[in-house]
Symmetry: C2
Subunit: 349 residues, 2 copies
Amino acid sequence: MGVSLKDVAQRAGVSIKTVSNVVNNYQHVTPKMRARVQQAIDELGYRPNLTARHLRKGRTGIIALAVPEFGNPYFAELAGEVVDAAARHDYTVLVDHTAGQREKELLVCQGFRSHVIDGLILSPIHLETEDLMARTETAPLVLLGEREYEAPYDHIAIDNVAAAREAVAHLIALGHRRIAFLGSRTGRERQPAHLRLRGWREELAASGIAPDESLVVVTDGYGREDGAAAMASLLDRGERPDAVFAYNDMIATGAMRTITERGLTIPGDIAVVGFDDIEESRYGATTLTTIAPDKSAIARLAVDSLVERLAGTPVAEPRRPRPGHRLVVRESTAPRAPATPSEAAGPPR
Amino acid sequence: MGVSLKDVAQRAGVSIKTVSNVVNNYQHVTPKMRARVQQAIDELGYRPNLTARHLRKGRTGIIALAVPEFGNPYFAELAGEVVDAAARHDYTVLVDHTAGQREKELLVCQGFRSHVIDGLILSPIHLETEDLMARTETAPLVLLGEREYEAPYDHIAIDNVAAAREAVAHLIALGHRRIAFLGSRTGRERQPAHLRLRGWREELAASGIAPDESLVVVTDGYGREDGAAAMASLLDRGERPDAVFAYNDMIATGAMRTITERGLTIPGDIAVVGFDDIEESRYGATTLTTIAPDKSAIARLAVDSLVERLAGTPVAEPRRPRPGHRLVVRESTAPRAPATPSEAAGPPR
């Protein structure tokens, strides 16, 4: 009870200044010294008074993470990782949601609530480069997500084109040719098309398969209901793809539900690949093959960037690190079934 | 651009004081006057300067919602509702997670971060009544969740015993008799057993079925992996229930995955009922019958209680409102299949 910096310094046999440097995560402490102080901290159960410490620096000790929606498990899982990463820098995280509305994205970007937050990590959907260039708020901002911006802010995102190409290459290697894409953006964005759709096009073309744009279904949103509706519209048009590559796992989940409802099997009739590797994808009746972004790395890089900007590192060149990703193969993909006699003979007349 | 209170007052033909009363949600404004002012606000696009307003009152305009985990979609969906309910009172919400750790629950309860929040909505797992009685922090606190406390705080929770009884009654009405319960608390709590398990016991007993405690499987946590493991342990022991009632949808989802992996069918071999009505339960290959708590009502009651306490209403008698719930019947439950000849003849030797 009531362990002080002084107690820790005595136990570790170092100066109070050194303990303070360790506790404040200053860089100029040797790893050996850091370990020695940390041991004393652990043994004594010292807990720095974070609030007081941040307030002395004119800070609140809080960073905000603004995501499009709490209901998307990808963002919920990412938020957990950001909380953990921030805790390592003694920051706590305010999670905010923009409801996928441009108006709310502008509001958080422009510093709404800036009296209680030191910096912001934002995953935008609708913001444009001009919006970011018009930003007057001075609190540090780090961007997440697949949108591309020409703006002077650090931006953490996996290589979405490469990841999408791996997903499509996996399907092609299994013998699939008619591969649908579900989840293209609507026309509200000026961006030509998003990166995952570009990956789909590029990988098909590279494999000598002309991308069939009639197999691209534009969804309104990013949810399960959007995936279910997109798959239904595809089947209703008489299109019967070999496989589906979905923008995210939620759209994939909705599509799988529709496939099942239509009496078709996964992967026998239609193989499915998602994107995000949310936990539920490991537990369905048919587990989902998906692209797993390294969520820990994304969170760590975002928090590290923000903390460095908070420490005053000027943004000479905005950083664009590329956290990793991997294809996780599960039950929803399998080699293409050989053509049935009726299929080989063409549709019945 | 720059619409003021005065502009709104002129447009509505009322005093600035009246506009201020409406904007501040004071009670002593007639509905008619409120509508008139609101119309002027909407027409002019007036946006009150919330930050300044809260700061004048010595507040930050932020309330915290502390939940056990972001990764549980029930809490993500509830958080969305709380954000909406708080916005109606011009409050924004900081979402915090306690990682289901007693230590962190104590921390938020004791006012960690209270320099930036006006009040707290907390869904505890491990806190005891004594912990709440020992609380010295004066910021208002409203409790959520199924734990029962004898403490002077408002507590918003559905009638968990009644809801569990409805779930079990549904299974009994379908002809099921051997009904397992997955998800009992571990022994760390001094509480005898939680309310949903009590509902399971009571409904079975009321229907003349002796509750078979060998069909209760204690899980470590509340996740999909816990449900999968619990179901596996039940089947590994040679128990083959007619039906499963799970503590929540995530445990139900894990159990369904195990049932499928063992080559059994849902609901043909084993019917499953969950609790929470999270969105993914509507999209599985077999949609899940579940208890749907009224999440909007829970959020609204919690925020309303907190706002009233913030306005200075003394806690004469802590409130225990009971938001509603309903049983949602989907594909995972069906009438019990008639005994097969082999079953009627007993297991093969």
